[in-house]
Each structure stands twice: as C-alpha cells, then as structure tokens.
C-alpha cells in the first residue's frame, strides 16, 4: 500500500487555490487561515461578515458545494476543489437573486451586517427543501443571529421567496 498521507503544508504560507463564485483564486496563506479570513482578508471578498469568529452567530455563512456552513470554523485549505458561494456571487449581474429581492422588499434587515449570512442561509434552507411554515423557517433560520431584531421580516422574506420558488 502506498503512503497515502499528502505532503505536510505549513506552518508557513502555502499556495491554496479556492473556487469562489466560479472564479479561481490563487492565495498564499498559512494553513491556519480560516475560510472566512481567506475571503475577507486575502480574496478581497468582504461581503461575508465576521460577527463572532466562534460559530455562534452565522454572519459568516457561505455555501460550500451548495451547503451552508459557518466559514469561521473551517480552514480555507480544507476547501481546495470545492465550489464556494458568497453573497457577492448570488446576484446575476444586476439581477438580484429572488432571496435578495425578497429581503429588500420585506425589509429583512436593518444594519445589514448579519444580512449576507441570513440570505445565504435562506437560500440553502430552500435548497434543503425544509417545510416553509412559520415554525420551520424560524427553526432553520435560528443559526443566524440578527441583533437588530429583523426576525419577523426575515421570516416573511424567506416565506415569500419560497413561494416563488415552487
């Protein structure tokens, strides 16, 4: 049996290639750089927010291969080869993604800092085919804290976008 362990990377900066919103990003970063910091500090994509860096708020939510995760508790180097979607990649040029449009129409945000995470989480919620009743939306949107307290409008936005989807 061949030795199956890949080469050791780091601790010094190493080349890491990420595919973000369909674009290739060649970064040189230490293995300890989180996916969130790779986006914000190295790939010039600060749309993804850092609210806590501890997995406790959901502001850093991104889609990895279509699934939502908190990008602050994962390393960028773990995601070479994955398809990463951030808020910057959601709209189609000037055409907003229906979830973005719904957030705007329903005033699903105030300060806007939790918003990219909320929107990506909501997009994933629809993809997960969760029931779209009020209780289910509330439960499955509970990984995104909104300190401004826009929850009611967020639920309305998700429900409205969900209706369009089907």
């Amino acid at each position: 049996m061949p030795v199956d362990v890949g080469p050791r990377a780091g601790p010094h900066p190493v080349p890491v290639t990420l595919t973000i919103n369909g674009m290739r990003h060649d970064l040189t970063i230490e293995p300890r750089v989180t996916l969130l910091d790779a986006l914000r500090e190295y790939a010039n994509l600060p749309g993804t927010k850092k609210g806590c860096d501890q997995g406790t708020c959901g502001a850093c939510t991104v889609l990895v291969n279509g699934r939502r995760i908190d990008s602050c508790l994962t390393l960028a180097i773990m995601h070479t080869g994955a398809r990463i979607t951030t808020i910057e990649g959601l709209a189609d040029g000037d055409r907003l993604h229906p979830m973005q449009a719904a957030f705007l129409e329903h005033d699903g945000f105030q300060c806007g800092y939790c918003t990219p995470g909320q929107i990506l989480s909501a997009v994933a919620l629809l993809a997960e085919k969760r029931p779209l009743d009020d209780a289910s939306i509330r439960e499955f949107m509970s990984g995104n804290i909104c300190r401004c307290g826009a929850y009611k409008n967020i639920v309305d936005a998700v429900a409205a976008a969900g209706k369009q989807n089907v």
Partner: protein, 325 residues
C-alpha cells in the same frame, strides 16, 4: 491560533499512523470544535490530519443495525430516514443541536469527541484542571450554572456538551474505532470517562485511535426513544438539562428501559439504577417519579446549578410519560 502544519489523507491507516506517531498531532473533521478551541489557544496541535477524505461519510442500514460513519454530518444523520425510524431520539437530539450551518460541517465522530463548554476551561486566564492539570477548578466556587450535579469530582465539575451522545445512551449505540492496536467496539456508555483526578482524560480512546462509525442496533426499544432538551433559548443553545429515554411495555409492564441524561454530568450520564427500577412495573406517574428520584440520588449542586436537580427530575418524568404514551 498557534501555527501548525496541515496534511490530509484518504487512508484511515495512514491517518492513524500519522497521529499515533506525533503526540502533538490531531485529527481534523468538521473543525467546529477543534478550530474554535485552537483560537482560544486551549488546543494547540502542531499537526492537523484532515480526515474528511476518509470513506466514513455514509449511513448504511444493515439487517440488525444501522451504521453511521464517523464522518457523516450531523445534519445528514438527523435527516436520514433510517436514523429517524430506528433511533428517533438520535435524530431529535441532532436536530436540537447547534445550528443548521454547524450541523452541516460537524461530524458524528467529532461530536462524540467535542470538549466541554465550561467557561473556565475555555478561558486560559482562569484556573482549570482539565486544561492545566493541577491548576485548580475555578468553576466549583465560581459561576457554575451550567455545571454538573452528578459525576463531578474535587478537580472538575464540567458537563459534557453533546446532545447526541445522550440519545445514543438510550439506543445502546456502539462506537467502532481503529487505533494503533487494531479495531475495537466500545459501548457508548463505556466511551466517556468521569474526571476523577484526571479531568484531562475524557474518553477511553488512545492517542491516534480513530472513530470510524457509530452502530445502532435495531430494536423495538430504540424505535420508541425520544429526546427532550431544556434550554433558555428556543434554539441554537446547549442543554441546561436533557433526557434521552426509551421504554418498551409488554403486558402492561415495563419490559425494558433506557434513560440517558445530559447537561448534568461530565459525561453523557446513563441512569442505570433508574432503568432497573422501572423494569417490571406498570408505567405510571409514580413509577416515573421514583425513577427520577433514584436518578438524582447523590446529586449535589454548587450554587448556581442547584435548580438542575429538580429540573432534571421533572424532565425525566415528562419524557418517560411521553414515551410511554
């Protein structure tokens, strides 16, 4: 975060060998606990072995058991029809854990290995015997609302944070591992250890030993199981107290029972004596209350957490009543 080197592998024997060979190496699965603790400098491995490429991501239903791969994600496990049917408590516990985003990243193996949320453990400016053996436990006379009322020691009164592990107690799950000395199967109740005077030791695993799967035997008992969790917030919060319970009733008598308790002890707590007391008696409020009373025999509060004792008793009664119904 301290600097470290990173490697990944698709071979479990290579993963085991690499970590076994290096005291400062650790497996990296979802990262939701390990990376968090590394940021707090509570953990500082020099080498991370990313195991996400190992072939342990599947959930497969066999004739007598369902096998949940160690790398199955909490979300997929919670949604899996076989898990929902064979061990509803496990699905419920997972759904009541963390958040959708965290459950998409976090794995079953990592969930069993996650470390306590004790604030003193996580804050390197304070005293914690688990983090630094011999330094003392600041929680005992400190803010201990989240802490243990059972199974603690003079050195540590932390609680184990996993919801799923409590539910696994109610369904007789078996943890399958592969280590430097081969493979073994460990009943879930024997997997975690109590702090005693070595609170830094939390499970029976050896360094380098890898969880490969969790097996849940198919049984009528397990299929009745349920999980209930009390917390301050309606979601996205660890348990104040929780109960994983299963009952089977034959001819009006309780034939078998499982009772796992969470949020009250340094390990997922199996209330064996309560289970025994239930067997052979008719399900009734009185029987459940007696079982609850037995479960907290020897419990002690440390001030802020005194309320957990009556709370867990009431939750036991409630959940037994609901599985009996």
């Amino acid at each position: 975060m301290r600097p470290f080197a990173y490697t990944r592998t698709a071979s479990s024997s290579a993963a085991v060998a690499t970590v076994t060979a290096d005291r400062d190496a650790k497996f990296l699965a979802g990262g939701t606990n390990l990376i968090d603790l590394m940021k707090d400098t509570v953990e500082a491995p020099a080498l991370l072995v990313d195991i996400n490429a190992l072939p342990f991501g599947d959930i497969v239903e066999h004739r007598t058991f369902v096998r949940i791969g160690a790398l199955a994600r909490m979300s997929d496990t919670a949604d899996h029809p076989a898990v929902v049917r064979i061990a509803p408590a496990v699905a419920e516990a997972l759904l009541a854990s963390a958040s959708p985003q965290l459950r998409n990243a976090a794995t079953i193996g990592g969930n069993l290995m996650q470390r306590t949320r004790c604030a003193y453990f996580r804050d390197v400016a304070t005293a914690c015997n688990k983090r630094e053996p011999g330094r003392g436990c600041a929680a005992i006379d400190g803010i201990n609302r989240q802490h243990a009322v059972l199974g603690g020691s003079r050195d540590c009164i932390c609680v184990h944070p996993s919801d799923m592990a409590v539910a696994l107690l109610a369904v007789d799950a078996i943890v399958r591992t592969r280590g430097p000395r081969g493979e073994r199967s460990i009943p879930i109740a024997a997997f975690h250890t109590l702090p005693g005077d070595t609170p830094q030791i939390e499970t029976v695993l050896e360094h380098g030993e890898l969880i490969v799967a969790v097996d849940i035997p198919i049984s009528r008992l397990a299929s009745t199981s349920t999980y209930v969790k009390v917390r301050d917030r309606a979601s996205y919060e660890f348990a104040l107290v929780s109960v994983g319970a299963a009952l089977s009733v034959r001819d009006g008598k309780i034939a078998d029972a499982r009772l796992g308790l969470g949020g009250i002890a340094p390990k997922p707590w199996r209330a064996l004596a309560s289970e025994r007391a239930l067997i052979g008696v008719a399900p009734s409020a009185a029987a459940f209350e007696r079982a609850a009373e037995i479960a907290v025999g020897g419990a002690r509060g440390y001030g802020h957490n005194d309320f957990k004792i009556p709370l867990v008793k009431r939750l036991i009664v409630k959940s037994l009543a609901s599985v009996a119904a």
